[in-house]
Amino acid sequence: MTRCAYPLMFEKSKPGRRAYDLPALDVPAQKNLLPQALRSAANPNLPELSEVDVVRHFVGLSRRNYGVDNGFYPLGSCTMKYNPKIDEEVGVLFAQLHPLADADCIGGAVDLMLHLQEALCEVSGFDAFTLQPAAGAHGEYTGLTLIKAYHDHRGDTARNVIIVPDAAHGTNPASAALAGFKIREILSAPDGGVDLDALRAAMGPDVAGFMLTNPNTLGLFDKNIAQITQIVHDGGGLCYYDGANFNAIMGVVRPGDMGFDVMHINLHKTFSTPHGGGGPGSGPVGCTKALIPFLPTPQVVREGEHGRLDYDRPLSVGKVKAFFGNFSIIARAYAYILSLGGEGLKEASENAVLNANYIFHHLKGTYGIAHDRICMHECILTPGELEEYGVHTSDIAKALIDFGYHPPTIYFPLIVHEAMMIEPCESESRETLDAFITAMKEIAALAKADPERMHKMPLTTPVGRPDEVAAARNPIVKYEWQ
């Protein structure tokens, strides 16, 4: 591919071009409705384009991008599964519904939220859910405020520490800090699991809770989970389940049954809503009975056959965003659950785990590994002996691009040197996995034969490796008209 920059829409602007049209003003035009002091000096300096210009521009941009509809996207911990098209069509049916429409005008939407909440309770083993948080990190934040409010309400106000394993996603400590907690980090056991002695040592009367991902960020299920939640509970703390890896266990085991008190689910991962290049997501939070009084306002509650928005919640943490959450994302996830049913969800998880183990098994002789165990929905590989040839994880990732694949998550988790985290998802066929395995083996061979070539990859993309240092030293974050 010939490398080239793509013109910005500003550079395509021609004076007088227009793509918009509006009906003629059908009321008598009045002058001076705005006092001069409040009126802007000039129109905003936006580009002037025709409709065809706009269409060609964005289609052109799309051709310089890659989504899961293009092909395999094994980005670990991101659960890039196929996004069903029926979900898109029904997800937008409520586009015209105003969030402040009267109570008797929104029944169907509230019922939909109720039904989704109840389904999520069943899949996770919790007693209630709020759908208000807009993303995973937002869910973490919301769940942590529940924990603080719970302790405070009992008069146990000195509990201001959250324990976080060093293998955790960065959002965990960041969310805890935003919720006003101090963070106590514990080192993980070599397999990425919780070091029970370290956890016991970290417990104390100041501990409000413990955040954990299980399967952990190494893609392994922590066998000690019952003891872990017991240790935290014995010390008076609550257990927070980070649902980032929930896609591994639906229908098999439930966080509520593991002893967790609160969790968030990423609907944009496990329940297959499209990620849109970075969002919108949706991060519903589930909890046990003891935490229900503290859930955000309003809460959708069941009243006979229907749902009702409950605003009378004196102990609630309040609101975490306007209105009720990312509703059209919530609707898509509900369609997904309706389509699959309980059996289908279990089938999805089992096949996600099978696909990850298939890749792991067929590549572990070629690449380095952290642990030779059955993994869950994702597996970790490392360059292994390829490092002797000067080839690193980033080189392997860039080479994969030339083979037509989106690379896995790289350099995470931090506790594995040069990690590549591969999450294939259930929606990939055996041929796709086989082709990926073959590509990975060819890359390993290339790394030994011609490491220099590897350093120059990718060669098939519209642009080469960016100078990120220059970008950060002298930030250019908007277009300047010439």
């Binding site: 490398r3 910005l8 829409m9 071009r17 918009y20 009906p23 003003l25 059908d26 009321v27 705005l34 936006l46 002037e48 384009l49 051709r63 991008n65 890659y66 989504g67 980005l75 049916l93 586009a95 519904l97 105003h98 429409a101 005008c105 929104i106 169907g108 939407a109 069943e122 807009a134 993303a135 990190a137 937002h138 960065g170 959002t171 960041a174 006003g180 963070i183 392994l220 019952a226 229908g251 098999v252 085991v253 593991m258 290049g277 919108p280 609101k319 306007a322 009720f324 990312n326 049913g341 289908g344 098994h361 691009i401 989106h406 259930e426 642009v463 080469g464 220059a470 970008a471 950060a472």
Partner: protein, 447 residues
């Protein structure tokens, strides 16, 4: 039942065998047996596409989505050009993850860079982040940014911010132990600038909206001056659609311009997803939260875009980060970009002007009714205004609904003591005919 697993049962069995396992259950050997579910999930059996569609249609029937809307209050009914949903659903963009792999994500990275540029042109500011969840979240993130930038734990806000924004601010402030101080309103619906100097001692800054929740255009220049007077940062919460007519935040020295860009191409969607935007000037760019796209060059000197200034963010700073945001509202960024590109400078000016004209036409017609009056008759407004009638607003609202009209929002919805006020809104979507019918209906209800 629908399944998105392509492999047949036979293929799955072969795959299991190839890795030395017999059954799916063998994959879960690490899960303690006693903890495993002993029965299938108690969920209805999976459904076909047609059945799913029917369930959604029957839910939709139990909503009112076909009445003319005269309600805003943080969620606005505007026209969305056809190109917006069509282009935003391009699979390559729609089904992509966050653009971590620069070379494979130039399309989305450039789209975000263009969005940052467009929203900066609209607000007059120098830098924008790649979005936060919504307007309420934009307020919270800006409050925290002010705290970090000024190293002070007190922030002021105008009593005329959207009630949901205030409620969200209070949640974030409570847990982060920020002292939030409300600046009250004057009788004309505007924030009492006179109180700011006294309330602002030791504060990091202040957030105020224009148009504010009651539709009133504030004296933002006066507010900005008063906030700078106590050494604080001024966060201007604005409706971006109004900026085709109303003064831009840069014109009155705002330090942050923020809000919800839902009016720029996003449907009502029962409250989300919307688009929180935060912009600032160059000096404070590192106080923005979340992702930012920057321009640089590749190894051959081509212009490229990449995520930049990442060392502020949670995945690197962990508990020292000033925000925990990771996923944002990127697809909404794309939609607003397509909207702004389609409207251009003239379109943004014209749509703002039509909102202004129609809202004033409607306000004047309502005010001419015998027992209705504008609460803030002498204060300029954009596309929303408060009407007081002699009757209970909830009852008036019911009467209008019976006549097929979704009237202004009864303010009792947010303040139980405000039983008479209704917050009306008119946009380019409301025809004269529709407005005349609404006024006639209101006349009947009030009679």
């Amino acid at each position: 039942m629908k399944s998105y697993v392509p492999n047949t049962v036979h293929e799955r069995q072969e795959m299991l065998q190839s890795i030395g396992l017999k059954t799916m259950d063998d994959l879960y050997a690490d899960v303690p047996q006693t903890m495993k579910l002993s029965a299938p999930l108690q969920l209805p059996a999976g459904k076909s596409e047609q059945e799913v569609r029917r369930i959604f249609q029957s839910l939709l029937k139990n909503t009112c989505v076909s009445m003319p809307i005269f309600r805003g209050a943080g969620a606005y009914n505007h026209y969305i050009p056809s190109v917006v949903p069509q282009l935003a659903s391009r699979n390559e963009l729609y089904t992509a993850y966050t653009p971590y792999q620069t070379e494979m994500s130039q399309g989305m990275l450039q789209a975000i860079f263009e969005y940052q540029s467009l929203i900066c042109e609209l607000t007059g500011m120098d830098a924008a982040n790649a979005s936060v969840y919504d307007g309420a979240h934009a307020c919270s993130e800006t409050m925290v940014a002010m705290k970090f930038a000024k190293r002070k734990d007190k922030v002021l806000y105008s009593a005329a911010l959207h009630p949901d924004y205030i409620a969200t601010l209070k949640t974030y402030a409570r847990f982060l132990r920020i002292e939030l101080v409300e600046v009250p309103l004057l009788g004309d619906g505007r924030t009492d600038i006179g109180q700011i100097a006294a309330l602002g001692a030791d504060a990091a800054g202040m957030l105020a909206a224009s148009p504010n929740f009651y539709g009133v255009l504030e004296d933002m220049a006066g507010l900005s001056e008063a906030v700078h007077g106590f050494g604080g940062l001024f966060g201007a919460v604005v409706n971006p659609l109004s900026l085709g007519a109303v003064k831009r935040p840069s014109e009155y020295g705002a330090d942050f311009a923020l809000g919800d860009a839902q009016p720029l191409g996003m449907p009502l969607n029962f409250g989300g997803p919307y688009l929180g935007f935060v912009t600032t000037h160059t000096k404070l760019v590192r106080n923005l939260s979340g992702r930012i796209v920057g321009q640089t060059t590749d190894d051959e000197g081509n212009r490229v875009y990449c995520l930049t200034l990442s060392a502020r963010e949670q995945h690197i700073r962990r508990e020292k980060a000033s925000s925990n945001i990771c996923s944002n509202q990127c697809l909404c960024v794309l939609m607003s970009s397509i909207y702004m590109a389609t409207m251009g400078p003239a379109g943004m000016a014209e749509v703002a002007e039509q909102n202004l004209q129609k809202a004033h036409y409607l306000a004047q017609a309502i005010a001419a009714l015998p027992n209705a009056k504008l609460r803030y008759a002498d204060t300029p407004f954009f596309n929303e205004f408060v009407v007081d009638t002699g009757k209970n607003a909830a009852a008036v609202n019911e009467g209008l609904k019976q006549r097929g009209i979704m009237g202004g929002l009864p303010l009792s919805r947010f303040d139980a003591t405000d039983t008479k006020g209704m917050l009306w809104c008119a946009t380019e979507m409301n025809t004269r005919e529709e407005m005349d019918a609404a006024v006639a209906a209101l006349k009947e209800v009030l009679a």
